[in-house]
């Protein structure tokens, strides 16, 4: 059929089964928005900032497992969205971000709201396109969705000049995708898998090192089974929280800079690292030369470039972790889980020696308590997003995650302002679950305009502000490594968060006691509207334990022991 480029965008989104689009209109994308006005196949959520549109699409994608879609205009619309693209790229989140561009005839003339969008997005997308004629649109849009979701997922950016959205051409979306140059390797080499299993059978102190790739590949079930069949203890990266349930006996905990003592010691003492969908990030490994120093390394990853990038893999396996885990399961009968009994005991001793905990030694609420309390009250019934900072690490440490896709946070890029819009996307994807965003008094101000979106679109996100009147994580580093010179991190002058929420039509609570917190959370859940719960917490609390940047995992700064909790 002959339709306009703008209509093609709509038809393609429908064909891809998209039910929610996040976006913000503007001059160059108006033809597409005109078509959105005329359709009712999917909902459009108007955010109040393009960055938030992309973060919301990320949150939506993380929870639903589908490709997130954001629609934005040229120039500043696009540059606002760049942070979201970079965030999705670092965390391998499948997105298709469609931007308007000035007409072809004006490209390169420094026209109004013109920017070299594909030039900018090249370094923070898996792939990008500038569409120069409408007849290319069906192929490009189809490729965009395919590339975003396959292999190592990631954001794809499609930039469409305004005249191309007006141009009429043939629309046929049925053609098969034929990308000779892009064929992700999804099946692991059977011989390598066999060798890896033999290495596991021989190892005395193996550890599963579980990464976010497991969640991307929907492989949590297979991995759980593999862990239980082999009886090998496992550590999770920040991005892998929820792959194993918090109460799983074989889960040691999170590893890395703010990982548990037990996890980091297990990694330091192991003789075989079994890395699944993890990329040996510097926040995980600490000092590379000391990381798992006496261990062999099995590394399963869909991205060949991740393998041996930082840590040399003795058993490299390129493939989709779901497929590989299935094959490993088939060979798992050769592994005798009883053999690792004393190793499991050693790991349990590490945990007993320095458990993940905190001291209740002040009149003020401890931020960790808030996270634990929400876990007790809502548990698996809530999806948990975070912004970036101390609250993020406390959430990763203390929330009882029990399922994959429950925890949504900005890992690789560490984007302050991510949490609230992402939580709206989460709520849009999973309306039946409470959407909690743990945030800080620093982070929340970076996208608080989204209160308007959440109120208007009835996305009742509960933002729990762990308010210490500090840019807490930077303050912590200044305390520990800059001789307490708290340069520009004191946020004593803050808005009235209760009034702020109310000004947008939401609800605000100021909380100074535990009883008030319980009451506020209960009320916010019941009222089911967007909320700010501003919790006054201990100002000088640090995230512990901690591996100083570039330090060795086994050299952690630990919480000082006290008799209280």
């Amino acid at each position: 059929m002959q339709i306009s480029g703008a209509q093609m965008v709509i038809e393609a989104l429908i064909a891809e089964g998209v039910d929610t689009v996040f976006g913000y209109p503007g001059g160059a994308i108006m033809n597409v928005y005109d078509e959105i006005y005329k359709q009712d196949n999917f909902q459009h959520i108007l955010t109040r900032h393009e960055q938030a549109a992309v973060h919301a699409a990320e949150g939506y994608s993380k929870v639903s497992g589908k490709v997130g879609v954001a629609l934005i205009t040229s120039g500043p619309g696009f540059t606002n969205a760049v942070t979201g693209l970079a965030d999705a790229y670092m965390d391998s989140i499948p997105l298709v971000v469609i931007s308007g561009q000035v007409p072809m005839s004006l490209i390169g003339t420094d026209a109004f709201q013109e920017i070299d969008a594909v030039g900018i997005s090249r370094s923070c997308t898996k792939h990008n396109y500038l569409v120069t004629q409408a007849s290319d649109l069906p192929r490009i849009l189809k490729e965009a969705f395919y590339i975003a979701a396959s292999g190592r997922p990631g954001p794809v950016h499609v930039d469409i000049p305004k005249d191309v959205t007006a141009e009429i051409a043939e629309f046929d979306y049925s053609a098969e995708i034929d990308l000779e140059t892009y064929k992700p390797h999804t099946k692991g080499n059977p011989r390598q898998i066999k060798k890896a299993m033999e290495a596991i059978a021989k190892a005395k102190r193996p550890v599963f090192y579980l990464g976010g790739g497991i969640i991307n590949a929907n492989a949590a079930d297979e991995v759980r089974e593999l862990v239980h069949k082999t009886g090998i203890p496992a550590v999770e990266t920040f991005m892998a929280r929820g792959v194993l349930s918090h109460d799983d006996d074989l889960l040691i905990g999170m590893l890395g800079m703010h990982g548990s003592y037990a996890s980091n010691m297990a990694m330091s003492e192991t003789d075989l690292v079994i890395g699944l969908g993890a990329r040996f990030d510097d926040r995980v490994t600490g000092k590379l030369s000391e990381f798992a120093k006496n261990a062999g390394v099995i590394h399963v990853d869909i991205d060949p470039a991740s393998i041996s990038k930082l840590v040399n893999a003795d058993y490299p396996i390129v493939g989709d972790v779901k497929n590989v885990a299935k094959e490993m399961l088939e060979l798992s009968s050769q592994i005798n889980s009883a053999k690792y009994k004393s190793w499991r005991e050693t790991v349990a001793n590490f945990a007993e020696l320095h458990p993940l905990t905190y001291h209740e030694d002040t009149d003020r609420i401890k931020p960790q308590w808030v996270v634990e309390r929400v876990g007790q009250l809502l548990g698996a019934g809530a999806n948990i997003s975070t912004d970036v900072g101390q609250h993020q690490m406390w959430t990763a440490q203390f929330y009882p995650f029990s399922r994959p896709r429950q925890f949504i946070s900005s890992g690789g890029l560490g984007t302050m302002g991510f949490g609230f819009p992402a939580a709206m996307g989460v709520k849009a994807a999973a309306p039946d679950k409470v959407s909690i965003n743990f945030t800080g008094d620093g982070s929340i101000l970076m996208n608080c305009q989204e209160l308007m979106t959440a109120v208007e679109k009835k996305l009742p996100v509960i933002n729990i502000i762990l308010n210490n009147n500090y840019l807490g994580m930077v303050r912590q580093w200044q305390t520990l490594f800059y001789d307490k010179r708290h340069s520009e991190t004191d946020l004593s002058v803050q808005p009235d968060f209760v009034k702020l929420a109310e000004a947008f039509g939401g609800i605000g609570y100021r909380v100074t006691t535990k009883e008030e917190f319980d009451a506020a959370l209960k009320d916010a859940v019941e009222k089911n509207i967007v909320a700010f719960i501003d919790v006054v917490v201990e100002r000088l609390e640090n995230v512990m334990p901690m591996v100083p940047a570039g330090g060795s995992l086994f050299n952690m700064m630990l919480l000082e022991k006290k008799e209280t909790k």
């Binding site: 594909v118 030039g119 090249r122 370094s123 898996k126 792939h127 500038l130 590339i147 990308l179 000779e180 140059t181 892009y182 030369s289 991205d303 060949p304 470039a305 041996s308 990038k309």
Partner: protein
């Protein structure tokens, strides 16, 4: 620990489409890799182009370069050459007052010749292994070259 850095020649076959060259060069600059020379031209009777990149780095860096290049969607193949034939061309402009016979003889020794003689300048070209082109360029300094242009290397696996 500083790993030994070596000169390497990498060939990349890419779909001949707009902005593909910037994807390649962006990758090098974004990841802090070094490009010594880069040549690119379409492969006859195909939709592909071939890039020849001369770079340097440790074994680990070179492995990352080839893997990261291969991740780019329009990249069909990446060859890291071990056994190859390599050629580079250079053109040199001399004042017409220099000894044209000497220059011609030298050029012939480096698979070249004088290609143009004008009122004021002589232009010579040589095509040889990059290392030999360098030798040639240092030898002809005595004939006061006014301008030198090098093509960058092209290479084929043996």
């Amino acid at each position: 620990m500083i790993e030994a850095s070596e000169r390497r020649v990498i060939s990349v076959i890419v779909v001949n489409e707009s902005s593909v060259l910037s994807r390649i060069t962006d990758l090098f600059s974004a990841r802090g890799y070094n490009i010594t020379s880069l040549t690119v031209a379409p492969i006859p009777e195909s939709k592909y182009s071939r890039l020849t990149i001369v770079t340097s780095g440790s074994v680990r860096v070179i492995e990352q370069i080839t893997k990261q290049l291969h991740k780019l969607i329009p990249v069909l193949r990446v060859y890291e050459h071990a056994d190859l034939v390599e050629k580079e061309m250079a053109m040199i402009k001399f004042p017409v007052s220099e000894n044209i016979t000497d220059i011609n003889t030298l050029c012939e020794a480096y698979n070249g010749k004088i290609v143009n003689v004008g009122e004021n300048v002589i232009i010579a070209m040589v095509a040889d292994e990059p290392k030999r082109v360098e030798n040639f360029l240092s030898i002809i300094k005595r004939y006061n070259p006014k301008e030198i242009v090098r093509s960058g290397a092209v290479a084929l696996e043996r």
